[in-house]
């Protein structure tokens, strides 16, 4: 695999593209600011503002993308940075800045494009919500923050946007805060990600302490560039880790928090309490991908110190990357397992998102940036497609989310069905025609060649099988069989279908830029020319790999279809698998009881600690405060007595004197203006007379 | 030859003065100038009246005066004869002296205003260093005479009319001054002659009139409004609103004095449009470089008459305001706008040459004038009227 960083010929030259880059996040944020000031009934205006600003951003990012593309075509891989000092403390200074390189460009286009589609979709989905304007305010604030994450060239700036993203996700999950469940979910999401972010912050601080800069690339002085990395490798951090890998791990903890990797995944499924467009945008396409993107950004750090063979292939791996891989693979399988046994249409998708994110992480860990990012992009498209499809299903079934209460919808909502099917096949990685297949294959291939261990490969394959299985289960529950709902289902309005169609198209087409025949995407990201070689397929073992994955996928599809396909069932009767193996089923349905575990340990501990603190406040500190107050009151009493008996007497005497004196003087004050005027005039006369006398003498 | 045509009046004067002993010449020149003014402008007044009556007639779809002379153009003469031969009525318990002094004072003051207006190249009676100030001083003094008229005739209509007139004139004097101050800022002189000369230059044959600059244009709009109010023309003609108070402050006047008031009003109109012409429309300078051969005074008078026609047109078109609307308009809209325009002019001055200042200044002005105009003229600003006495 080709080393990033080295392959690049860094080019700092300012260009308009990088000059105006800051506008891309700025526009939506400004828009949200304006929307925040709008009145509730001004729905159209707010929607127009949000969509308009985002489409402007889309145009700009397309422009930037084109710029990068041109630069790449002309051989020099573009990496333009614009840095400036934010805080200057003595000699130390904290710099911020933004960057334009293939990675950022691709992400920009993806975020803007998917975001725009989802915005349009939301106008339909939220049409009946009275907080329409608030929704769009949050939404475009989110878009801005996310784009900020993408273009950040400084870990600090990235962190700021990162937190902003977290905030908006909190706001949007809790958008229907009337629902206690939604409020709780929002809180959960916020706190869980916070845990990750604390580690992230630690890593950041450490990095700053070590390298003295938070910029990624800064003409050789950036923290992601060879010079500083060398320094990081040199410093040991205990436990046999180098500072580099330790910081890498800390940052990865943050990423894991956002991307719902294994220990911190609990918030993501609950986040489905939010409106569906939100789930599609934030918890499928963009925000959860931010973690992956972060790892991709700091990849040089993660990868620092790996030995290279002559051909630039990485021999072995670093600690950080190994951890990433294991966590990713683990999450992939684990979440897929849970997804099998869920009945809430959105929850299934949520868990599949978690597992797919696992795939991405694993891909990053084993295959490098391109592999992970490719899956990120394709996943963004088909997963948001799936979510919006789910949204339209829910919309059509009158806010029904339980797949056991649906069925046979392929008649009632054909468009949704077709697009959804496309998305599902893409997610399963159906051979050849769907993007998911290629991106997943990329990961599997990387796993196959991974020099450290083979088991991740098998885990991922198993994950693929499960994926195919649960998606088929869901689809057959929702669209086939007999309709088990109460109210009549109906197709969604075209404004909601249009994005679906567009996304469906991309869910199929995007695969083409990542086939081994023409690995354009990887080439683009890694900044070397893309060779077109029909021999791509006949790489040693690649055909075999493709065969395996196809077989696995088909297996999953078939099995699931056998079990669930087109059976007339009732909503009440238990799931087929449940009949087969009840114990495992309950375990899965209970999501391995992770939440309960946390509840029993962490949360219980905090509750206890809170009680202790409360007791301390009431008894100890409170007591002291009251005692002090009492003392002062007594003192005040004393001084009051003193005043009354001694001081006041003297004052009264003085006042009487003054009063009588004033009475004397007040005779002159006749209260008539002209008298005063006369006195004045007399004074004038006297003064002038005196003057003259003095001047004469 | 064009020079001769241009300076014809001056040549005439010098020729006439030539007959006198040298010691008297300058004084005689001044006297001649005064005579000229006293002769010309009342003539214009006569033309204006007939113009107005016929113009209004056309606008209101009737003929207007058409009996005396061909197409009734001799109407003013008839009017003059009539008003001179009429009996002069003084109300019984009117304050005779003041009642008599008021119209005289008015006409005198108005005539004095003309002294500083350059009606042509080198054609100004007194080229005062602070001519503009003088003009405004005279304009301010008219208020006194109006008050005298209103108060002395012991008639509630007259008094109300006078009060309205004075209040209105004071309120609109402020924007009038402020909008002219912009010009002073730019020219750096209070002398009207200098102001005209500053505008008498051409690029690509187009003149440098101040109305063709952003601030100048804005100032001109405001000046026009204020001037209309200052001369009590409709839509600001409350002081003599026939429908409300019979004829305002000169209800109790008849015959010659009435004629004087009438004269005074129209002269004020002429002189204020003359000032506007001088300040914004380049005075006696010709609108195109290639028309320079036309005598300058022709340009001046044609511009003045043109603006008079506009005034007539406005009168024929717009309905009358209400008192409180009038005041609101003066203090809450016109005044702030002129102040803003002042700042814009300063900005213009300090941005130095180049296209940038054109863009900036016009942008600001357009933005504020349109925006503030819309907001400021909303309905609620003209709510129900509230009266304040000190009873």
């Amino acid at each position: 695999m080709i080393q990033e960083g080295t392959a690049f010929t860094p080019q700092i030259a300012e260009s308009t593209a990088s000059g105006i880059l800051w506008l891309i996040p700025a526009l939506p944020i400004v828009a949200s600011g304006i929307i925040a000031l709008l009145k509730q009934p001004m729905r159209k205006l707010s929607a127009t503002l949000a969509i308009g600003s985002l489409s402007c951003s889309l145009l700009l990012s397309l422009f930037a993308f084109g710029h990068v593309l041109v630069g790449w075509a002309s051989g020099a891989a573009v990496r333009e940075t614009v840095n400036f000092t934010w805080i200057q403390v003595g000699t130390a200074h904290v710099d911020l800045g933004w960057i334009l390189d293939p990675l950022a460009a691709v992400m920009l286009v993806m975020v803007c494009f998917v975001g725009l589609l989802i915005f349009i979709y939301s106008t339909g989905y939220m049409a009946h919500d009275e907080n329409f304007t608030r929704f769009f305010c949050f939404l475009s604030l989110f878009a801005g923050a996310m784009l900020g994450v993408v273009i950040a060239n400084s870990l600090l700036l990235l962190f700021m946007s990162w937190e902003l993203v977290g905030l908006t996700s909190y706001l949007l999950i809790g958008f229907w805060y009337q629902k206690p469940s939604a409020a709780a979910a929002a809180k959960k999401a916020f706190l869980t990600t916070r845990i990750g972010d604390v580690f992230f912050l630690l890593g950041m601080v450490w990095l700053f302490a070590q390298t003295g800069t938070l910029l990624f690339y800064n003409a050789g002085m950036g923290s992601m560039e060879a010079l500083k990395l060398g320094g990081l490798l040199a410093t040991p951090a205990g436990l046999g880790l180098t500072a580099a890998s330790a910081i890498g791990l800390l940052i990865f903890a943050g990423a894991a928090g956002k991307s719902g990797q294994f220990p911190l995944h609990v918030w993501l499924p609950d986040a489905m309490e939010g409106p569906t467009p939100v789930s599609a945008l934030i918890h499928a396409a963009t925000m959860v991908a931010a973690g992956v993107y972060l790892i991709a950004r700091v990849y040089p750090l993660m990868q620092a110190g790996v030995q290279l063979s002559a051909s630039g292939e990485a021999i072995g791996s670093t600690v950080a990357l190994t951890v990433v891989t294991w966590v990713g693979a683990g999450t992939a399988v684990f979440a897929a397992l849970i997804a099998v046994a869920q009945n809430d249409i959105k929850r299934i998708l949520a868990y599949s998102t978690v597992s797919q994110l696992g795939y991405m992480m694993a891909g990053l860990g084993m295959g490098g940036v391109a592999v992970g990012m490719f899956h990120l992009i394709t996943h963004a498209f088909f997963k948001s497609l799936l979510f919006m499809g789910a949204g339209s299903v829910i919309h059509g079934c009158h806010e029904e989310q339980d797949i056991r209460r649906m069925g046979a919808l392929k008649i009632d909502m054909p468009w949704t069905f077709i697009t959804y099917a496309v998305g599902m096949l893409a997610l399963c990685g159906f051979p050849l025609f769907f993007s998911g297949f290629w991106s997943k294959d990329g990961i599997l291939e990387a796993a196959q060649h991974w020099s450290v261990a083979k088991s991740p490969f098998y885990m991922l394959v198993f994950g693929a099988l499960l994926t195919a299985f649960y998606m088929t289960r869901q689809v057959s529950y929702v669209f086939f069989g007999n309709y088990r709902g109460h109210k009549e289902a109906h197709e969604s309005p075209p404004v909601m279908l249009l994005p679906l169609v567009i996304l469906a198209f991309f869910a199929m087409a995007l695969g083409l830029i990542g086939t081994p025949v023409w690995p354009w995407f990887r080439a683009f990201l890694e900044g070397h020319a893309a060779g077109f070689s029909v021999t791509g397929f006949s790489e040693p073992g690649f055909l075999a790999l493709m065969a395996t994955s196809s077989i696995v996928v088909l297996l999953g599809l078939v099995v699931a279809w056998r079990i669930y396909g087109n059976k007339p069932i009732k909503a009440e009767d238990p799931d087929a698998l449940e009949r087969a193996m009840p114990t495992i089923w309950t375990l899965l349905e209970g999501k391995f009881y992770i939440d309960e575990l946390y509840g029993a340990t962490v949360i219980a501990f905090y509750a206890w600690w809170a009680r202790v603190a409360d007791w301390l406040d009431r008894r100890v500190w409170g007591g002291i405060v009251t005692a002090v107050a009492w003392l002062f009151r007594e003192g005040a009493q004393l001084s009051r007595l003193f005043d009354m008996n001694w001081v006041d007497g003297g004052f009264d005497k003085g006042c009487e004197e003054l009063a009588s004196g004033g009475g004397l003087m007040s005779r002159i004050e006749s209260g008539r203006v002209q008298i005063y005027l006369r006195l004045l005039a007399l004074a004038v006369v006297l003064l002038t007379a005196i003057l003259i006398w003095s001047s004469r003498g | 030859m064009p020079e001769k045509a241009d300076q014809v009046f001056l040549l005439l004067r010098d020729w006439l003065v030539g007959f006198l002993p040298p010691g008297w010449r300058s004084a005689a020149g001044v006297v001649l100038g005064v005579i000229g003014i006293i002769a010309v402008f009342p003539g214009l007044f006569a033309i204006t009246t007939v113009l107005e009556r016929k113009g209004l007639g056309r606008m209101q779809n009737r003929l207007g005066p058409n009996r005396v002379g061909p197409f009734g153009i001799l109407q003013p003469i008839a009017d003059a004869i009539k008003s001179l031969t009429k009996e002069d009525i003084v109300p019984l318990n009117a304050d005779a002296v003041v009642h008599f002094l008021a119209p005289v004072f008015l006409v005198v003051v108005v005539f004095m205003g003309f002294a500083v207006l350059p009606v042509g190249r080198n054609m100004v009676l007194v080229n005062m260093d602070s001519g503009l100030l003088f003009y405004f001083a005279m304009g301010a003094s008219t208020e006194v005479s109006i008050f005298m008229a209103g108060w002395s005739s012991r008639n509630k209509y007259s008094l109300l009319g006078a009060m309205r007139a004075v209040a209105q004139m004071i309120s609109y004097e402020v924007p009038l001054l402020l909008s002219s101050v912009v010009i002073v800022m730019m020219t750096g002189s209070l002398s009207l002659v200098k102001i005209v000369e500053a505008q008498n230059q051409y690029t690509w044959g187009l003149p440098h009139w101040y109305i063709f600059t952003p601030w100048g244009c804005a100032a001109f709009v405001m000046y026009a409004v204020a001037a209309t109010a200052e001369t009590n023309r409709s839509p600001f003609d409350l002081p003599e609103g026939e429908s409300e108070l019979v004829a305002g402050y000169f209800t109790e006047y008849s015959g010659f004095k009435f004629a004087l008031f009438f004269l005074g009003e129209y002269l004020a109109m002429l002189s204020i449009s003359g000032l506007g012409t001088t300040l914004f429309l380049g005075g006696w300078s010709s609108p195109l470089a290639l028309l320079n051969w036309v005598p300058s005074w022709i340009w001046f008078f044609s511009k003045v008459m043109l603006s008079i026609c506009v005034l007539i047109w406005v009168r024929g078109t717009l309905p009358r305001l209400r008192q409180d609307q009038l005041m609101n308009f003066a203090w809450k809209f016109v005044l702030p706008m002129t102040l803003l325009n002042l700042m814009v002019a300063a900005l213009w001055r300090f941005m130095g040459d180049g296209w940038a200042r054109w863009v900036a200044c016009s942008a600001i002005l357009l933005l504020v004038y349109v925006g503030a105009g819309r907001v400021g003229m909303r309905r609620e600003h003209f709510g129900p009227r509230t009266y304040r006495y000190a009873e």
Partner: protein, 107 residues
């Protein structure tokens, strides 16, 4: 027809006379407004003094007296506005502008 050795003295005397007249008015009339009128007269007399001195003293181009006069005109305007406002509000409360009846502030 020169009565005084210098023209300045004439102006000064006229100013003094005006001042005295104003003062007399302010002291003897009962109506508050007329008192204000008297004060205006005095102020103007002072202005006349200032201008006269500016004209006849050395260095008129330094403009000292002139400036003094201009500023005092401005201040006088302010004074008149406030004074008359006061008179009006007093009239509103006491229903009179007669100073002999306005002695409510006697000590």
């Amino acid at each position: 027809m020169t009565v005084f050795a210098t023209p300045l003295a004439g102006y000064l005397l006229v100013a003094a006379l005006l001042f005295a007249i104003g003062l007399a008015g302010a002291l003897t009339r009962r109506n508050a407004i007329l008192v204000l009128i008297g004060i205006e007269l005095m102020l103007n007399a002072a202005n006349l003094n200032l201008i006269a001195f500016w004209r006849y003293m050395p260095h008129p181009e330094a403009l000292t007296g002139m400036m003094f006069a201009i500023f005092s005109i401005a201040v006088a305007a302010a004074e008149a506005a406030v004074g008359l406002g006061l008179v009006i509000s007093i009239h509103r409360h006491a229903k009179t502008t007669d100073l002999d009846e306005m002695n409510r502030m006697k000590g």
